[in-house]
């Protein structure tokens, strides 16, 4: 039987109503049962849905049981929902070819699908998706920590750069949650920053700094992409030098008799 969108919506609404009614009936009797009745069956359903998506979209490299394939892709058992959420929400996975460097792209899955895949990968254990709040974070401390730990590769302005063997991505689109996840994982060639090296609160401050430098603060005028000496040198060569040549040409012109 095929469902038209309208009938599907009506059915969904009916399902929600029934669920809410069931909660009202069950919750007063069981006390703290509210969360369990609502989440246990749906969590199992999420994992099942995630497994289906995983087998279709990820298993060719990571293996049917997410144990990885030697020399192709790593095992995902124990990486946790944190890693799954990072790679899927930044569009780094799925990869066209396992040998290329994952870069930020438009996510291939919808947020609901990502949640299902997160639940499936998270069902093998490992760190959960972090809850990041910038409340109480310090911009100044975040800036200082960013200079210590991040700016070597990502530049002081979070504009990204290169390391021999990899690109350090620009942080112009990274959300605080993705920043925390990346620090904990150490994706591709990035070093890892465990909670004893950078606490969640410190990472929140770093995220606040990243959000701050994203704005266009250019006290000197044109920021030239915040990429530092290379674009500045290009401006010197391609704009300033032609200007100087033009001036030299004007100076050297034959005087009118």
């Amino acid at each position: 039987m095929r469902l038209g969108p309208r009938r599907f919506a009506a059915l969904t609404a009916a399902g929600w109503a029934l669920g809410a009614l069931a909660l009202l009936l069950v919750a007063p009797g069981t006390g703290l049962g509210q969360g369990e009745t609502a989440s246990v069956p749906s969590a199992a359903a999420q994992i099942a849905r995630g497994r289906t998506l995983f087998v279709t979209g990820c298993s060719s490299c990571h293996g049917y049981a997410a144990r990885g394939i030697h020399g192709v892709a790593p095992s995902l058992r124990g990486v946790g929902a944190l890693a799954a959420d990072f790679y899927l929400s930044t569009g780094r996975m799925p990869l066209d070819s396992p040998a290329v460097e994952p870069t930020r792209k438009r996510p291939a899955y919808t947020p609901q699908q990502i949640a299902a895949l997160d639940a499936y990968i998270g069902s093998f254990g490992g760190p959960p998706i972090p809850h990041v709040s910038l409340r109480g974070s310090s911009l100044a401390r975040g800036g200082s920590l960013f200079m210590d730990s991040c700016s070597g590769c990502h530049q002081a302005a979070g504009a990204g750069g290169i390391v021999p063997g990899a690109f350090a991505p620009a942080l112009s689109q990274a959300t605080p949650r993705q920043i925390v996840e990346a620090a904990r994982i150490g994706p591709y060639l990035m070093p890892r920053f465990g909670p004893r090296l950078l606490t969640d609160a410190q990472l929140a401050s770093i995220s606040r700094y990243v959000e701050y430098v994203r704005g266009s603060h250019n006290p000197g005028g044109w920021g030239i992409g915040h990429l530092g000496p290379v674009p500045e040198g290009m401006i010197a060569w391609f704009v300033a030098v032609p200007f100087v040549l033009l001036v030299a040409r004007l100076i050297g012109e034959r005087a009118e008799a």
Binding site: G152, P164, G165, P191, R196
Partner: protein
């Protein structure tokens, strides 16, 4: 002008003559010499040259007494600007303005050479205060020569073959920049942290080290350095051996099958030092490995040095290429 037929060229033989060409006349000869004889322009040139010399001397004074980049730029840049302006004014308003027709024939004849010499000799014929100009030009070259020589001091003190002193000794505790001890268990595999010797001046070139933890199975130190790493933790001088920048970048592969080996990278010129093999150079301009600091874990779980750094800290310089 354009309605007249082109004049026939007077000097080139064998050139095809357009059928409508008219004979070459006196009016077609553009040769002219204008001798400016302007004492005002000469005074301006002399003033600008003197200014260039003074600014060059000012640069030396600023360089020695005041450490200010804007003042460096103002004085040296101003000197160059004044020198350039003097050249422009002299070119436009002091020396004769001459328009000549240069024949395309060869000038490799004695009489032509003599004529050229005479022509060059006559170039100063509009100058009345030659000695003043010579004097001020000498001032300009002396001042600017001094300015360019003064910058040689930026090569740093003459250190001969001495190395940068390093405060690392056996038993020195590793602390972070706030003086807190660095614990071995704070470092996960794939982490790095910057550390300094406890109680030492952290601004010394020999102080900062970068402490890295890799998988213990990856450690591949030469036999002479057995025991310098503990649980995969290694420490290296944070000062690049090429130009002395801080080695601020670390790469650690999450999945080694598809990416490069663990390395420390200097952001200045991308010198790349392999972590596992003792800081050997695998890419970039550095000429010698990063000095390694032997590490051990104290009873309280903090890190301490098991000996001094393995080599000379700091950039390469004359006579120091030893590891």
């Amino acid at each position: 002008m354009s309605d007249l037929p082109p004049p026939r060229h007077p000097s080139v033989e064998g050139e095809p003559v357009p059928p409508d060409a008219r004979p070459y006349s006196e009016a077609d000869d553009p040769t002219q010499v204008v001798i400016p004889t302007s004492p005002r322009n000469e005074a301006i040139v002399a003033g600008l040259l003197a200014l260039a010399g003074l600014l060059g001397v000012a640069f030396v004074v600023v360089y020695v007494l005041v450490d200010s980049t804007p003042l460096f730029g103002l004085t040296l840049g101003g000197a160059l600007l004044a020198l350039g302006a003097a050249a422009i004014v002299a070119g436009k308003g002091v020396v004769p303005q001459e328009t000549v027709l240069e024949p395309r024939a060869s000038v490799a004849h004695p009489e032509d050479e003599a004529a050229t010499t005479a022509l060059i000799r006559s170039a100063g014929s509009g100058v009345s205060r030659g000695r003043l100009l010579k004097l001020t030009a000498a001032i300009a070259s002396a001042g600017m020569g001094a300015a360019s020589l003064a910058t040689l001091a930026s090569f740093g003190p003459w250190i001969g073959s001495r190395s940068v002193p390093s405060p690392w000794r056996r038993g020195a505790r590793l602390v972070d920049e706030y003086g807190r001890p660095v614990r071995a268990d704070a470092l996960e595999v794939g982490s790095f942290v910057t550390a300094f010797p406890k109680g030492a001046d952290i601004d010394l070139l020999g102080s900062p080290v970068i402490v890295v933890r890799i998988d213990p199975s990856e450690v591949d130190l030469p036999p002479a350095r057995r025991g310098w790493a503990v649980d995969g933790i290694l420490a290296y001088s944070k000062i690049c051996t090429h130009a002395g920048c801080a080695v601020a970048m670390m790469r650690y592969p999450l999945f080694p099958a598809h990416s490069a080996e663990p390395a420390l990278v200097c952001p200045c010129h991308y010198s790349t030092f392999e972590v596992a093999t003792g800081g050997t150079v695998i890419f970039g301009p550095a000429g010698r490995p990063l000095p390694q600091l032997p590490i051990r874990i104290a009873a309280d779980g903090t890190l301490e040095a098991a000996g001094p750094l393995s080599g000379d800290v700091g950039p390469a310089w004359f006579g120091v290429n030893r590891a």
